[in-house]
Amino acid sequence: MLVNNINTTLTSASYNIFKLIPTKTQYLISYRNIQDVVSFLGTRTVVNQLARKGKIIEMEFFLSSDVERFYLLDFFRQVRGNVGGFWLPVYASDIRFYDYDANNNTQFIVYHNNLFKSFLGYEHLVYYNPNDYSLTVRKIQSIVEIDSNFEKVILEDTILNLTKDTNLHKLIYGRFLDSDLQIQYKTTAQDKYIASAVLKFIELPEEGVLQ
């Protein structure tokens, strides 16, 4: 399935959002391998303070039409495999909306999910509306913990028309992990094939800050 309309406050001239919606998303806990430096005397020095951690995320896509298949191939060509970075909505990172803040409509309260710990500071918030296949994107300023049940998300712009039990997601910056894209076709009947692709993405927090 493809997102057909994006309402965003992203201001970078070159922003590029991956529009294909996965059928299955999976976090791989193996974080990006940060090099350890072994010093001259043999002491091991961990240098991973220099780079922030980026998740590896695996998603499975069913390409039910030529339009979706063409979109994926063309997107892969545009970013030249694992070279170009882009914004990726992670539909698995659930942020469950609870209520608006009565005093400020750029702030709202969500159910506690340790979001304030995993927030790297650059991510955006994404609301996918399945009725009109649209995507709303807002930049997150900060996330604070209220108590053991709720957290507060502070945005830079307003986001409206959210209802209770709406799932919100994070928009992260990343690239394809591999330089190749494999598409499996189960049948060749005209316009009736079932194609699927399993893609791995890696988060690039340092580059996301710059966007």
């Binding site: 780079a51 298949r69 030249r80 690239r175 076709y185 060749t188 005209q190 194609a195 690039l204």
Partner: protein, 343 residues
């Protein structure tokens, strides 16, 4: 041809009757990454002896380089260069004279007009052009006479060019891998530096097909003949149905060509009858009109189809082929091919 690499002894692949065929180490030379050349060289040794260590040394040679080329020569006339060379170790009065020339499959006035009775002195070579017609394989047979101060030996040589093999079939299942060559390195501050190495993607396709016992021989023959050669295979994810009758050199399809990825990359097209897959038609694409969903091809379609499916096709290098028996009288065939795609 960009480079011709001279050969070393360790690569002998065929040895009989004083003819040594060598396989180049750098057999696959990518020229602008559009076509894959498979270059072998052949030389004809006239005299060999063993040194004190018992190792055979060849010292009087006549080279044809390359002697065998697989190249994208399917529907075009191509001018192919090759070299004939007299390579001697010792500069003596060792002369080679071309005595006899026989051309098989060469259509027009093309080659060897100047080298009949030509005398090759040591290390002298001739760079020649072979005009390859549209249809058929080409073979050139000949004889040369080796003249020494003491003797003269007659030997024969051959030079062949073999066309790409078309494999028209509709698989049951298949997978495509689109791959970009990239380079990723890290800076001192662990930031990534990434760059594409090639603008053209590498396309790898693996076809799977269930075969009946009656189809078995056909596919084994096709793939054994195609082994090591360039194959023309359908890109089965890019298929169309015609909206008009197929009797001219233009095909109007039902699909919106803007949605098709490889149509910007490939040059060829195969029409296969779904009901009788032995009935197929192959041609080069001359142009594509995406506004009217029309594909213009070079040749006029001269076959009739009950249920035609139009596939885009490309030149692929043979990678692997496997047939295994699944159950009684049913076999599972896997064919893997790969190629850079690009016009």
């Amino acid at each position: 041809m960009n480079t011709i690499n001279y050969l070393n002894i360790g690569n002998i692949i065929n040895y009989s009757n004083n003819i040594f065929e060598f396989n180049l180490n750098k057999a696959n030379i990518l020229n602008n990454i559009k076509y894959t050349y498979n270059i072998n060289a052949k030389y004809y040794t006239i005299r060999r002896f063993k040194n004190v260590a018992g190792i055979e040394i060849f010292f009087e040679q006549f080279w044809i380089n390359p002697s065998y080329i697989d190249f994208g020569i399917i529907t075009k006339e191509v001018n192919q260069n090759f070299i004939l060379q007299n390579r001697f170790v010792f500069f003596d009065k060792k002369i080679i004279t071309i005595d006899k020339i026989e051309e098989i499959g060469v259509s027009t006035e093309t080659i060897f007009p100047n080298i009949l009775n030509k005398v090759f002195y040591p290390y002298e070579y001739v760079n020649m052009t072979l005009n390859i017609p549209i249809n058929g394989d080409i073979k050139v047979n000949g004889e040369f006479i080796f003249n020494d101060t003491t003797q003269s030996i007659t030997n024969s040589f051959s030079y062949s060019l073999i066309r790409a093999v078309i494999i028209p079939f509709i698989p049951d299942e298949y997978s495509e891998i689109v791959k970009y060559l990239t380079s990723i390195s890290r800076t001192r501050t662990l930031k990534e530096q990434r760059r594409p190495i090639s603008d053209l993607p590498l396309l790898e396709i693996t076809y799977n097909k269930k075969l009946r016992e009656s189809d078995l021989d056909k596919f084994i023959n096709i793939v054994e003949y195609g082994q090591g050669k360039v194959l023309v295979c359908p890109i089965t994810s890019e298929n169309f149905t015609p909206s008009s009758t197929l009797n001219s050199n233009q095909i109007i399809v039902n699909q919106n060509l803007n949605n098709y990825f490889f149509i910007d990359y490939v040059n060829y097209l195969i029409i296969i009858d779904e009901q009788n897959q032995d009935n197929y038609f192959f041609s080069e694409i001359t142009s594509v009109d995406k506004t009217t969903n029309t594909i213009y091809i070079k040749n006029i379609i001269n076959k009739t189809f009950n249920k035609p499916i139009i596939f885009l096709a490309n030149l692929f290098m043979y990678k692997d082929f496997n047939i295994e028996q699944q159950d009684y009288k049913t076999y599972n065939m896997t064919l893997g091919v790969s190629s850079y795609v690009g016009k």
